[in-house]
Symmetry: C2
């Protein structure tokens, strides 16, 4: 009942993360119903991104080929004003973006791209530890800030990395976990509250 | 922190229904990380859909320009084996697709594109009643099956259409509402159960 062209677009859209058949159909039908040239323009933006953007060869963030190839580097890795002695390890590019927005990290990044996850079959050998170690040595990193999320997989990955990197002699730290800013203690779960208490800091004395 | 090209794609993606900033970013980053030419191919499918598909000028379903223009008609409106005496009125193309999948409708369709909704500011004047009446007259329709959803807006629209179309003398029916196939009475809400009882059918006698 749908034109083959539309069914094909729906099938391609379902490859996007978290997009099922119904959502893909909704997107496709929205594009057909639109009268403002939306579909053509979205297609052009997509083509540009596909042609011009690549993962940064150093950190895994997004890099633009227009800024130079060989090696392909992102704007953060190109920025000489960044503190190269601090390396922040994150699970995903989204986490890197969130940390950048906070303005609290002046060093560079390393995107793991995955976390240890027995359920998804991701084991220690799947983590890019060798690449990370090489960067620590080459760039004379003095502190590695492990900013994986405070979830089961994120904590397991942090502990594993800390153990594996111990031999490099670099200082290793972990981002703090506790009650979030503006958060209500009444509604915080027990693990979060436990971490808030365990990680308490002296205010005086 | 993101290349301008990527931010632009994210902005375009947020125009899709139900897609916010974070979801759009997730889609965009997935496309950049992909190594199977996904972005380029999705872009091409999109361009084709944008160039070749249009709403059917008769019923509002999706039509392919390749099947002929002037008028632009969908495969259902082109199909001479369809029973043109029955016209099924639906709110959205998705509903038409669902009914087609059931195989229970042999007539043609009319897509309203909207429902009466005081909350969204959609009033009687926004419904294409004149176009619908014209089709009933021109195609000698004998029965209009109103298949708007059994929600508050859907029911209001069904009642409004029934009243407006009364003058045409056409038979007007409404799809049945009740406990769905495989559904559990214990978990059905009161309105559904009430409708199931009110709409009961004689099995014998």
């Amino acid at each position: 009942v749908l034109p083959e062209r539309l069914s094909r677009l729906v099938r391609w859209l379902t490859k996007l993360p978290g997009v099922g058949e119904k959502t893909a159909q909704r997107y496709a039908l929205y594009i057909v119903a639109d009268t403002t040239d939306y579909g053509r323009r979205l297609s052009e933006e997509l083509a540009q991104v596909a042609a011009q953007l690549r993962p940064c060869e150093r950190c895994g963030h997004v890099a633009d080929l227009e800024d130079g190839k060989d090696p392909v580097l992102c704007s953060i890795c190109r920025d000489n004003k960044r503190d190269s002695s601090t390396l922040c390890v994150v699970a995903r590019i989204q986490d890197l973006i969130a940390i950048e927005r906070s303005g609290a990290m002046r060093g560079r990044y390393f995107v793991l791209g995955k976390l240890l996850s027995p359920l998804e079959g991701i084991g220690p050998d799947d983590l890019p530890v060798a690449t990370l170690s090489r960067r620590i040595a080459e760039e004379k990193v003095q502190e590695v800030v492990i900013a994986t999320p405070p979830s089961v997989d994120g904590e397991a990955t942090a502990l594993y990395l800390a153990r594996e990197l111990a031999a490099t002699g670099v200082r290793i730290s972990r981002i703090a976990s506790g009650v979030p800013h503006g958060g209500d203690l009444e509604f915080a779960d027990e693990i979060t509250l436990g971490r808030a208490i365990d990680g308490r800091k002296a205010l005086s004395g």
